[in-house]
Point group: C2
Chain length 304, copies 2
């Protein structure tokens, strides 16, 4: 049951031939998610071999163009390719009306339902939850209302230790109890400690996405201890004044956030087009937080 | 003084890795024009080396997404790169309000003037004219109001035949008259026929763009005799029913239009993504109109 992140766009506001605007496709235990949808996302999805009709939930962090200008085109293409299963879009208030206007002025009608869910920009909120995963939003600090997102695998059940259950002749009907961590009683009245029959589950995996934001303690709790933190690093420190003015982060500040939040790995993204390569970002960040990578378009990261 | 068309997107409604949605950049005697602006146009402009800040006039044929979803992103990028010279956009009625809504919901403001000019979908209209070129729009036949565009070089002035003017000792002050085709009088009273001192100008060049449309006689007059006709050919004849239903053209029908309008060359475009290559289109069209090519992304056509 994989948890994979495909980087569709790792660039900032100005797309380049190497870095498209923000978009990430996430396959979390067969839940197919898209976070942000900059211009050209549909082309990137095709290029990187994503079966995009499977996407069921789209999360738009905020309404700067480099985070949603690809949404009308993607929805249009899904429609033309015959989609009829609904799609849930989580986003800011005006997005729904805007999409309606865009399609209606072209006389186009989508043949599938769009379910819009408004983001809350004041506090952390659970957006989606099922038996295996949970997705939350949390406010970031940017020029316009902006949310980050966290995708968490729920605590997994124990696995059955087949050898042990065979030895103890435990009937199949008791397996669900063991998996949930409950002791059982055999027909002869003997109590069996579930620990003797199960294998410990792996730790549940988690991923957080913070783009765009000025670094701030206010979202530290929301991203605490995640396996992978994607954090924007539009600039490096020599442009920290510009970062402050535009409410963006530098690579150094992103690394400080990763350190404070005690995350396991950091991935930098949303790099300004002024940087020819990411060496400066990496150097700056790794001095503070060693386990750092820089997102590249087409990169696939699997959380293990 | 060149007249060049750069194909930025030659595909239909569904972009593929080979064919982007409709967009063409035209450099007509240093007038820098963009016709249609499908998603990803800004990336194509970069890819094909166009200095897009020079573009001064944008023409949007109609409001189906594959013809304008790239416009917000392009304007946004022009703005971020510091543009402060105005831009004129010719398009359907709702486009202006839509762009305003898109930018205002993201709190973005353009630092250059957008001058909007409404297209007339009932008859041919001159949209732009200066001393060297003239651009007209004319109604096409599609599911929503749609215009085609024609870009024409004006009749050129004569060039001075230096050898002849030297031989006849014609003073410089009389050159403008000769260029305009006026006879002159020398100081000794002798009349000089301008034809003896000038070189005939080349024929003025012309280009017409018809996408999207069902083939119709109603726009034949507007495209009569152009040097190059770009005509959509979404389908080939085996899908003529679908062409009729969706008000698109087949390659054969586009060729018939080219023949009837007595154009010099035909370029097919807006090919449906269902076709793996353009061989079928070319075969079908050339049986009727020999001088046919198929547009490809990145192709540059110079009118001589």
């Amino acid at each position: 049951m994989s948890f994979k992140i495909t980087i569709l766009g790792s660039g900032g506001a100005l797309p380049t031939n190497k870095r498209g605007p923000s978009a990430q496709y996430i396959d979390c235990i067969n839940r197919h998610l898209l976070i942000d949808c900059g211009e050209g996302t549909q082309t990137q999805l095709r290029k990187f071999g994503v079966q995009f009709q499977k996407i069921s939930h789209i999360f738009i962090s905020h309404l700067h163009g480099d985070h949603f200008f690809g949404l009308p085109g993607l929805l249009s293409t899904m429609n033309l390719l015959g989609r009829n299963t609904g799609l849930t879009i989580y986003g800011p208030e005006n997005l729904h009306a805007l999409l309606n206007d865009i399609f209606s002025c072209g006389g186009q009608q989508l043949n599938f339902n769009l379910n819009f869910v408004l983001l809350d920009f004041t506090e952390e909120k659970v957006l989606f939850e099922d038996k295996l995963i949970c997705i939350t939003s949390f406010p970031l600090k940017h020029r316009i209302p902006t949310c980050g997102f966290k995708i968490e695998e729920k605590t997994k059940e124990y696995s059955i230790n087949a050898e042990a259950t065979k030895k103890l002749s435990i009937p199949l009907k008791d397996y669900p109890k063991l998996k949930r961590g409950e002791n059982i009683f055999l027909e002869n009245g003997k109590q069996i400690d579930f620990r003797s029959c199960v294998i410990e589950p792996k730790n549940p995996r988690s991923y957080a996405y913070c783009s765009d934001t000025y670094p701030s303690d206010k979202y530290l709790n929301s991203i605490q201890g995640v396996d992978m933190l994607y954090h924007e690093a539009t600039f490096t420190e020599e442009l920290s004044d510009r970062a402050k003015k535009t409410l963006h982060s530098t690579a150094k500040k992103a690394a400080e956030i990763a350190q404070k939040a005690n995350v396991k790995k950091l991935m930098l993204g949303h790099l300004s087009s002024r940087y020819e390569n990411s060496e400066g970002h990496l150097l700056e960040a790794t001095q503070i937080f060693k386990d750092t990578i820089v997102a590249e378009d087409g990169m696939v990261i699997e959380l293990l």
